[in-house]
Symmetry: C2
Subunit: 415 residues, 2 copies
């Protein structure tokens, strides 16, 4: 294997440290702030929400990614989103970054920020400042520190989400290969939808790579990873995905789209897909991961649109929750994806670990064994496959079922 | 008032009769088939689902609307959608229409069909045929017969939906005015989403009007009525809206876009909006009607997109169910509507029968009285208003809240 899964998350790569603390921003009895710092300056790449209403930290980070193009630290809080907070919200960003800059001895415009939680309230800046000061003193490069940070940024998530990989690249000194590491953490459970999901994601790597290529790599993997998941169709005001590269692995710096760049993209894709699928499976109230793979499509964009339409369908999601093999709903969701196709040639399957059922073929819903369907719908991951019979492109999207708990969680989120 | 509300539905207009029966197609102990017939041939107009996967009766009706352009009867069943049924499904349509044609003495290609229910199974043609024969013998022009028909086409609807109006138009004989009537019924509760909702809708009128104008009038009112409601974002395979005009009112036939045409359009709009709002408020599991009115928008299309985005948001819907004034979600849903606007100038309100609360202004969520918000969120109809501050166009969309019962209903629909 060229890309090897390893333990850890944001501290898996050399020279990255993490910390967290219980700042008491909204939650009690749990950590709610996290910090990542790098021993060396990092090139930085990012993608952000397409929502017209952007939270203050999104505006802050985008400015750094687009103009400064470098960073040394990230400060994240859970509980309050610092969104719809106007000029006061931007002032909070400045103050938070200034605190971190002082504590870490880095420029304030190289401190990235992230917030997640309720839209509207202002951040309690005194508690944020105290949290930043405390975390700056407890930074650690252990895997445990990365894991603790991934827990601190959770909101309605039920599990923390980390992933890391290692791979070999030619050494900078020309003497064989060096080991390069790439790892990340995400949070996201509600307000999850393509372009982008309501998520915060932080990926770190010790790879030496040109900043423009770093952004190109991130932009290349997002369409088939984070933009292919949906929990509820709501695109958040705060979505942020950041990728920091400090170059400490000692590889020959990646400066063009050669073999080393391709390996890096593959590693980044592996981590981003893993984190994206973990978010989809941990959607608010979810009891199932839903996967829709669409093959035989004329274009990649059509394939993505078809797959996304199915995982975004409330009726498909409710049917998976109820373990009810009402497959016409999958067909219906394909039909309103905005892609033209011939219903007479497509073939729709329910795919399990060991068994596969054909639901629809030759223009008709097929008779199937209800017990076999129930067994497949009882697996934690419910997988649909549809061959559209019109080309050779494919795409996969991930979502989750719609449950009583989703309604419960979102009927009273603020309290 | 030029347009007067009157009692009734599809039998409010002269020369229209209705009937229903318990054919035992899927449901037991209730009526599940309806028939409408006209004493005179009707011009017919229609709009149909945009779903690529179209049910057999949609294909059947579209053919009649586009080529025959005339009809004398409608036969509808609830319980089975006759969708994803291939050639067998089209054969069912032919047989059903042939039965009705024989029983009523009208051409088979002037019998419109509608089906709603589960996707996949074939219709039990023997029971359908028996139902058609029974209904043909019990047709009645009473208002009660129309109401009974509106009950027979319900699936998960909790209430039947009817509306009728009357208005005056110049008489054909040039002697003053005659009374013209227009009334309709709809069903629709799940799979409800713009373009179009999962709905069956039948509107009848005794107005004398050119068939091309009849279609033009229907196409003019649908964008701001049936296409502005959403229950769950799922566009069905079976959506059908039909408008039949038999000309028996004795008005001077409407042949151009003059005053009489405008009055007719206004009457049609009144009935269609009423039926659309009734469907939104009776969304599966709904405890609230949600109304989003957007004003001050640069274009009508943008206004519609903004309003629809809010009523389609799962998070807004769950928040209304929980009576939780988490207004940032309304702002967020406006933000991902695909319309550019300035978050600093918009103003968002919660509007009640007697009270109004400002949620968001000057780029910030506003402090508000929680008790007052709870009171407004406890009304059956929860109404939001947003002034976008960028023009003079407006639109209103309607939806419902997302409840435990929606999940329950759709987790096990087939049984």
């Amino acid at each position: 294997m060229k890309i090897e899964r390893i333990a850890g998350g944001v501290t898996a790569a050399k020279g990255f440290k993490a910390a967290c603390c219980a700042a008491g921003i909204k939650y009690q009895g749990r950590t709610d702030m996290a910090m990542i710092s790098s021993d060396a300056p990092c090139g930085v790449a990012g993608t952000f929400t397409t929502n017209v209403v952007k939270a203050a930290p999104v505006i802050w980070d985008r400015q750094i990614v687009q103009t400064v193009k470098a960073a040394q630290a990230v400060v994240v809080n859970a509980g309050i989103a610092n969104a719809a907070t106007g000029a006061a919200g931007m002032a909070m960003c400045e103050q938070t970054a200034a605190c971190a800059a002082r504590a870490l001895g880095v420029p304030a415009d190289q401190v990235l920020l992230g917030s997640t939680g309720v839209i509207g309230p202002n951040l309690p800046i005194d508690r944020i400042a105290a949290g930043v000061a405390e975390m700056a003193k407890t930074l650690s490069d252990t895997l445990e520190a990365g894991t603790a940070a991934s827990r601190a940024i959770m909101t309605t998530d039920t599990v923390n989400k980390e992933c890391a990989v290692a791979f070999d690249l030619p050494a900078a000194n020309g003497q064989g290969a060096v080991r390069v590491h790439l790892g990340g953490m995400t949070k996201g459970s509600g307000m999850i939808h393509p372009n982008m999901c309501t998520m915060l994601g932080y990926v770190t790597t010790d790879c030496a790579i040109d900043q423009a290529l770093l952004q190109r790599a991130l932009s290349a993997v997002v369409p088939d990873t984070f933009n292919m998941i949906s929990v509820d169709g709501d695109t958040s005001t705060n979505d942020t995905l950041l990728l920091l590269a400090n170059g400490l692995a000692g590889n020959a710096p990646i400066a063009g789209e050669g073999e080393a760049y391709q390996t890096f993209v593959e590693a980044l894709f592996t981590v981003c897909r893993d984190l994206a699928v973990k978010m989809a499976g941990d959607g608010e109230g979810a009891t199932h991961l839903v996967e829709m793979r669409v093959t035989g499509v004329d274009t990649k964009e059509h394939a993505r649109a078809l797959a996304r339409s199915v995982v975004g369908s409330s009726l498909v999601k409710a049917m998976v929750f109820g373990k009810d093999a009402n497959c016409g709903r999958v067909l219906c969701a394909l039909g309103y994806a905005g892609v033209d196709f011939d219903p007479a040639v497509i073939e729709l399957y329910l795919v399990g670990e060991t068994d596969t059922l054909c639901f629809y073929r030759d223009g008709c819903v097929q008779a199937f064994d209800e017990d076999a369907a129930l067994k497949l719908l009882s697996e934690r991951a419910v997988r649909f496959l549809c061959d559209m019979g019109m080309g050779d492109q494919e795409a996969t999207a991930w979502g989750c079922d719609l449950t009583y708990d989703y309604v419960k969680i979102n009927g009273d989120y603020r309290s």
